[in-house]
């Protein structure tokens, strides 16, 4: 683990933000004394004793799980079904027989359990599907519990009361117990962002940072820590200034929620009068109402691929049309921007001819849509049919060459011709935009801008491709940072190109929701921001507190930065 940056001489560790919020408190470190194999062999007399020891441990594990399931039924149904599968693993007949077989031939219980689980873990590790590979954790959780039970040691969850839990990984059942104990936050060394525990943390509204390598060694119980679940930071033994800063951040967060409601009808304008258009990112029609109630001025991004995930196939033109229309009509007269299916083999495999070693650099976004013009044309026709109210815009994802854009535009014209021939009502001037999310598109933004009606910057993908970093990979997550000067330069290039062409540039990535990033984006000249509905009011509040000329000064200072650390120093600390 490297210290990402040290602006105030404190220790700030950078991991992956897994659940938003701020937690301040004492650390409770759950060190998993890693179970190791014992080489010794049992004598004949020891075998029955060892078998009995295993039986008792297995029973203790299943009883613990059954208690957790009871608890889970009250808290969350998704967890209870996960725990039920743990219970099945713990009492699996084949596993039990194999372990008992090993003990009978002289292997001590711990070793027998570890070796049996290891065999099965290896098989899963080698699975091609990353989702299945993440399930190795499920085996590990059950195995750890069984080993703990063999050593007659159960976790004392009580010690974690009112504290930040630091652990190698956290099982869903731990999560439930900790929730009862008013756990403030979670920090783990491993774990995917979509692990059961992370999903639970978000459900429970408990801040969490994952992928902090060596966290259990670097942090000791009773140290004071701050978990910043927005930025994925863990601040160890903060000084008074930082502590005060985060305490007020935390208090503000609570006050915000109370106060923000009054902002719904207010304009989104900086203190010196620069107007910013605030829009919402949504995944389905039923989110439109919430977005409008939060005071957005349009839907800046509809992730249409969610329709595919929902249906599990490519829906017909009619099905798509009614889904798009539903959104458009709920939003009317506000504008709606549909992003064409942004699929890749990591998200939705159907239609992609074979397994890709590297989906992030593979057949995805516009590349896939041009590879399957039949699918793309169906979608274009459906979006055009939904455009009769003249409030629809279409955005093309993952563009890296001008030819892709030209080809897409040809297909759009072809679809319009067809609809004309059918006498269908649609908007012949429907705005077409490009999503700027590859370095190539940002570098060529001056050539792209004159050919389209708007540009939209996807900051997450842009940062990922610019920094060659998978942000969900904990081994490199500390490199991923949308505030890297290289990313900021590409954003600035894109905005300038849009302005020169007389079109708008918006940001619809996660960065738009970052606190200090807002002022920077406004200073760069972004006039439109799109975020998920729960963030809208907070963002509006931030813009209404900002002064445009100050934002410009900030950007000028940032333009001189050559490292992420310097950028943060200019912004006055981590986001």
């Amino acid at each position: 683990m490297t210290d990402a940056f040290v602006p105030y001489g404190l220790r700030i560790l950078k991991g992956i933000p897994a659940s938003p919020g701020i937690a301040i408190g004492r650390a409770f470190v759950l060190s998993s004394d890693s179970p190791s194999l014992q080489p010794d062999v049992l004598t004949l007399e020891e075998v029955p004793v060892e078998l009995e020891r295993f039986r008792i441990a297995q029973e203790a594990t299943t009883v613990e799980l059954m208690n957790a399931i009871e608890l889970a039924r009250l808290e969350s149904s998704t967890v209870s079904s996960i725990l039920e599968s743990y219970l099945m693993i713990a009492s699996d007949p084949i596993m039990t027989n194999a372990i008992m077989g090993r003990i009978t031939t002289g292997t001590p219980a711990e070793t027998a359990v570890l070796s049996e689980f290891d065999i099965h873990k290896t098989v899963l590790y080698n699975a091609r599907d990353p989702l299945l590979r993440e399930r190795v954790q499920d085996f590990e959780h059950v195995m750890e519990r069984m080993i703990a039970a063999l050593r007659n040691r159960t976790l004392s969850h009580e010690q974690a009361i009112d504290s930040v839990v630091v652990s190698g990984s956290i099982t869903p059942q731990d999560m439930l117990f900790f929730k009862q104990l008013r756990t403030l936050g979670y920090v783990t060394e491993i774990g995917g962002i979509n692990s059961h525990s992370c999903i639970l943390a978000r459900d429970f509204g408990i801040p969490a940072v994952i992928g902090l390598r060596n966290a259990t060694e670097m942090i000791q119980t009773d140290m004071t820590v701050i978990v910043d679940g927005y930025a994925g930071l863990l601040i160890v033994e903060p000084d008074q200034a930082t502590l005060a800063e985060y305490t007020s951040k935390q208090k503000q967060a609570a006050e915000y929620r109370d106060r923000l409601g009054s902002l719904v009808g207010e304009p989104t304008v900086t203190r010196d009068g620069v107007e910013i258009v605030l829009k919402a990112n949504i995944d389905s029609p039923d989110q439109v109402d919430a977005a409008i109630m939060s005071g957005c001025e349009g839907i800046g991004l509809v992730r249409t691929e969610m329709l595919l995930v929902q249906k599990g196939r490519y829906p017909s033109v009619a099905e798509q049309t009614s889904w798009y229309r539903d959104i458009v009509e709920r939003a009317y007269p506000l504008p709606v921007t549909f992003r064409a299916f942004d699929v890749g083999s990591d998200k939705f495999r159907e239609g992609i001819p074979h397994h890709e070693e590297n989906p992030a650099l593979g057949l995805r976004g516009i590349r896939f849509l041009l590879y399957r013009p039949d699918i793309f044309e169906n979608q274009i026709s459906a979006i055009l049919r939904a455009s009769a109210h003249r409030n629809v815009r279409l955005m093309i994802p993952m563009v890296s060459t001008l030819e892709e854009l030209d080809e897409a535009k040809l297909l759009i014209e072809k679809c319009k011709e067809k609809l004309r021939a059918e006498g269908a009502d649609f908007d012949p001037a429907m705005a077409i935009g490009v999503m700027i999310e590859t370095p190539a598109a940002a570098l060529m933004a001056d050539a792209i801008a004159p050919r389209v009606d708007f540009l939209s910057i996807g900051t997450n993908d842009l940062a990922q491709y610019t920094l060659a970093t998978d942000r969900t990979n904990e081994l490199v997550a500390d490199i991923f940072d949308a505030m890297h000067p290289a990313v900021l330069r590409l954003i600035t290039m894109t905005v300038n190109a849009a302005h020169n062409a007389g079109i708008t540039a918006s940001v619809c990535g996660e960065m738009a929701g970052h606190s200090a990033a807002t002022e920077m984006l406004v200073g760069i000249g972004i006039t439109e921001l799109s975020v998920s509905p729960p963030l809208l009011l907070e963002l509006k509040h931030r813009i209404r507190s900002a002064i445009y000329t100050d934002c410009q000064v900030l950007v000028k200072r940032m333009a001189k930065c050559s490292t992420t650390t310097e950028v943060y120093a200019v912004l006055g600390g981590p986001l």
């Binding site: 693993i89 596993m95 989702l131 085996f139």
Partner: protein, 89 residues
């Protein structure tokens, strides 16, 4: 003996939860039930066996049921697969 094939339809593959559903259903029948992948034969009543098939979306598996209630067992398991284990497909 009934021998047929099933296909994994749900997006996330045969991960923990669908595996648990499968085992629960299989356990209701007295027949021996096996799933086969790449010549690798596992007992459908063992969640660990099912999970270690590492069966991802689109993958085809052999299904064998043998015993007094083999027809009902095979039908029930085929339905689970074709419904994608009640998940998003």
């Amino acid at each position: 003996m009934i021998s047929t094939t099933v296909r994994v339809m749900n997006r996330a593959g045969l991960h923990t939860r669908p595996a648990a559903m499968l085992v629960k259903v299989a356990a209701q029948y007295s027949s021996e039930i096996y799933l086969i992948r790449d010549g690798f034969n596992i007992n459908a009543k063992s969640i660990i066996g099912v999970m270690t098939l590492a069966a991802e979306q689109g993958c085809e598996l052999g299904l064998i049921a043998e015993g007094a209630d083999e027809t009902a067992a095979a039908n029930a398991i085929e339905t689970l697969f074709s419904d994608g284990f009640g998940e998003q497909m």
